[in-house]
Symmetry: C2
Subunit: 343 residues, 2 copies
């Protein structure tokens, strides 16, 4: 019995050399064929390809990476905390990313950000021959991350305009100002004039932009823009903030709520206070999530193309990796309003 020493490394039995031997050519030729180098004789290429397929040849990713320095993988940097939120918006762009990745023949590696430990791991991984590029999907802005990533030597695309140095970064964002204006205009068109806002945490650019949009719409129509209350993007935050708002400005007849999560809390407070929606008070919310759908009454809400954003991140990253220069891609997508009973 031939003593074939068990090949520990790799599970892929067939190598380039095997195919080359079977086809009676050199490994270089097989390599060219597999990589579709155009200069090979078509007939030969066809023959080699057939043999390779028949032998079940699959290239060894590690070997290829070692030889080329490219990995065919991109990192997706997300936060554990974001995912753990019961209703987190991270999964929608994540979905977009995943569906787009297939088109570009890339592999996704998940890297966690959040704790210092995770970040050091992240940088370490990026520093090795880990990935060819990275995408960042973080709900809470982490202002120091961009500068850390800048040194990693790979192109990076952010979801949402990063807080810090701004203009030098590539990102895909939605028009939060425009979305807020959409919501506010709808309230005005519904005949409301004492329009308040439940604003989110000021540290988030999205929250600030929505406040700005609300303000500018009201200003354009000569309406007061002082009915403001701030709170967390959560049901509890929504009810607390709505309670304070109602106490401070009992005359409100319209509310723009900066997130559905807050919206569901706000609705409960409104109901408890005997304000009928939309009879006494019109409400427009933000995110157009399932929470808006199941709310009572169902909430009109500004829809964000989250999945599309994920897809575009991949497209942007792919183009950055192709040019490998210092190019910057910045894309801002429009929002739309989904109308439901609360208006």
């Amino acid at each position: 019995m031939t003593e074939t020493r068990a090949r520990r490394p790799g599970r892929s039995v067939t190598t380039l050399a095997d195919v080359a031997a079977a086809a009676g050519v050199s490994t270089a030729t097989v390599s060219r064929v597999m990589n579709r180098v155009p200069t090979v004789n078509p007939d030969l290429a066809f023959r080699v390809e057939a043999i390779a397929r028949q032998m079940g040849y699959q290239f060894n990713a590690a070997a290829r990476t070692l030889a080329t320095g490219r990995t065919g993988a991109v990192a997706l940097i997300i936060s554990e905390a974001d995912l753990s939120q019961p209703y987190s918006f991270t999964s929608a762009p994540l979905h977009g990313v995943l569906s787009a990745v297939a088109r570009h023949d890339l592999q996704i590696v998940i890297l966690l950000s959040g704790s210092p430990q995770q970040e050091s791991h992240l940088l370490e991984y990026l520093g090795r021959t880990g990935v060819d590029g990275a995408m960042v999907i973080l709900e809470d802005e982490i202002s120091h991350l961009p500068e850390l990533l800048r040194d990693a030597g790979v192109p990076v695309v952010y979801l949402g305009r990063p807080l810090g140095n701004a203009e030098a970064q590539s990102y895909v964002d939605v028009d939060n100002v425009g979305g807020a204006r959409l919501a506010t205009e709808a309230l005005i068109e519904a005949g409301r004039s004492r329009i308040a806002i439940l604003a989110g945490n000021d540290r988030l650019t999205a929250a600030r932009d929505r406040l700005d949009g609300w303000r500018s719409s009201l200003a354009e129509h000569g309406l007061d823009a002082h009915r403001i209350a701030r709170g967390a993007f959560s049901p509890a935050g929504g009810s607390d903030t709505m309670t304070r708002l109602l106490a401070a400005y009992p005359d409100i007849d319209g509310v723009f709520v900066s997130s559905d999560y807050m919206g569901s809390g706000a609705l409960q407070v409104l109901a408890a206070a005997g304000r009928r929606v939309p009879h006494d008070v019109s409400v427009v919310s933000y995110d157009d999530s399932v929470l808006a759908e199941v709310a009572n009454p169902p909430l009109s809400s500004v829809h964000q193309p989250l999945e599309l954003m994920g897809e575009q991140m991949v497209d942007a990253l792919a183009s950055l990796m192709a040019t490998s220069g210092t190019a910057v891609v910045q894309r801002v997508l429009p929002s739309t309003l989904t109308r439901r009973d609360s208006l």
Copy 2:
């Protein structure tokens, strides 16, 4: 000027050889030090380690993989479709997986399942020296996947007991029967006796187990178990099914709903029919998601330790990879009941 040809491959400038040269030892020794081989002289090890750290040495993953056949990465197989559901339960175990992965010093690669194309990609990737193991988180059972994966040559752990061949697979599951019993007992304790169920799609083992649990509890208490209606795990499914249920069995005073998603739909139908919850009808739901929290009234719901399950999947996989044998790990976690106003 010395003509240092630009090193295309890899970004990690410092190699084992560099460290070896700086320390005046062989690359073999440095390799041993970095891999904590116990036979090296402690003093030497310390010295080498210091030098390596100071030079910012990081091992090249591709080179190591090429040499050892191990990758230090595990695949996470999920479905694009699951993620795209507005309220999907995939992200909770995902979160658990991610948080556990750090502890084991593993890297996560996302692989998509769903379309035939994605599956062939998946198998191809697994077939290469892609990963050392795999975890499967699929909300819809895909019965042919286990047998495909069986040939991939790496250990696999499932979330939820797989439908098919069952006993040969490793999995982490929750006790759906027990959870349903918990819910049903609570309904009985609340003084209800005409207890119906909104059951889910029969193709899901979870849905079937919940039905079984409901049945067995009722049987033990000598109560009728014929008030059954089936529907999709969605708000629309919930309202449709609840409507049918009410028409068929107008006398119900308790309902066990197999998912919060259905629950929110069911609640609306109940309200529209003039049935007060919990005064006329008690409702207990399943999943303990944010939907239960924001429902009106807030729903009592069976809580599943989804994140914990994700963590345990990683633990299980790690132990499988360590033994590298044909061992099987099967773990079933208990559910608990979160009480809210609907009871």
